[in-house]
Amino acid sequence: MDLKSLRELNAARAARRAAILLTKISDGSARVIREGDEVGGELDAAIAKAFRSGASGSVEADGKSWFLNVHLPPPRIVVIGAVHISQALAPMARIAGYDLEVIDPRTAFATSERFEGVSLHADWPETVLKERPLDAYCALVAVTHDPKIDDFPLKAALDAGCFYVGALGSRKTHAKRVERLTALGASEAQIARIAAPIGLDIGAASPAEIAVAVMAQIIGAFRSRGLAGRGGDA
């Protein structure tokens, strides 16, 4: 690998963009591949698969040996609402290896005492997400129950192509939410991506149990990115 490729790769990683370093084993020459780039020949299928799975590996293609090193941004969970569920979700996410941050403009909820050691923003989502935009490697979890706080980040998450978008609330609450998001310009296909009611259906009752259901649903969504219909073989 030359220094220019290394700089390009490190810049992509720092900007939270997916990249593959494609190395030709015979001479060590390398190039940085971004999602959507085509190199031609038999490699394209292997590259597309590597971006989906996130798995690095060796490939034989076009009579040569290659190594594909996949660099996907670390998944980041953005929770809207410094509520009881979020207090349980934060340590679970840490254990599972996901970055997590909590946003809630209600300063009575967003206190460091309630969220010790958690990245916490006591501010409106509109303000925080301007500084730290959502991307395809983010999961958005909206759990305030308050349209004033939840609606903007939900729409922003759908537009950013977040790999997971979940919203707390009954089916009735969600029906009203769908009306509001439609009015904000969300398409039917976008709205269909929202997990609502939030969490895997495991009959979760307590806030901690709901957090388990949400964390499991996020993991499922992350591990099956672009693999709709795949079985649970992760």
Binding site: L3, L6, S56, N69, E101, V118
Partner: protein, 112 residues
């Protein structure tokens, strides 16, 4: 807590490699390209090495790094990449084997 831009923060081997190279050091990069059985570090893991044998990162749990560093110093000198293979089936297992019972293939190349 800032979102980690590099999986290993400031100690990320690829960031270290860029800094070392930028400061004028000759650098080799070792990468785990294949694993069989139980292996301590996944495919894609890096060890960065300079011409004096300083190193950063890991390709195993510390079992074979010494051997990789020695080969890397040669690679920096010659410029020709090398594929190394380590496993317990090897007679030299006590010296540079993997006590976990796995096998790994490590690609070593000169950077730049």
């Amino acid at each position: 807590m800032e979102a980690a831009s590099s999986p290993d923060g400031p100690l990320d081997p690829l960031d270290v490699a860029e800094r070392w190279k930028a400061s004028g050091r000759d650098v080799a990069l070792a990468t785990v390209v294949e694993t069989w059985g139980s292996a301590p570090r996944p495919v894609g893991s890096h060890l960065v090495i300079d011409a004096d044998g300083n190193f950063h990162g890991s390709v195993s749990g510390g079992c074979v790094e010494g051997a990789v560093v020695a080969e890397a110093v040669d690679v920096i000198g010659s410029g020709a990449p090398k594929m190394l293979e380590f496993g317990v089936a090897d007679e030299t297992a006590w010296r540079v084997g993997l006590s976990c019972g796995g096998r790994i293939k490590v690609y070593v190349e000169r950077l730049g």
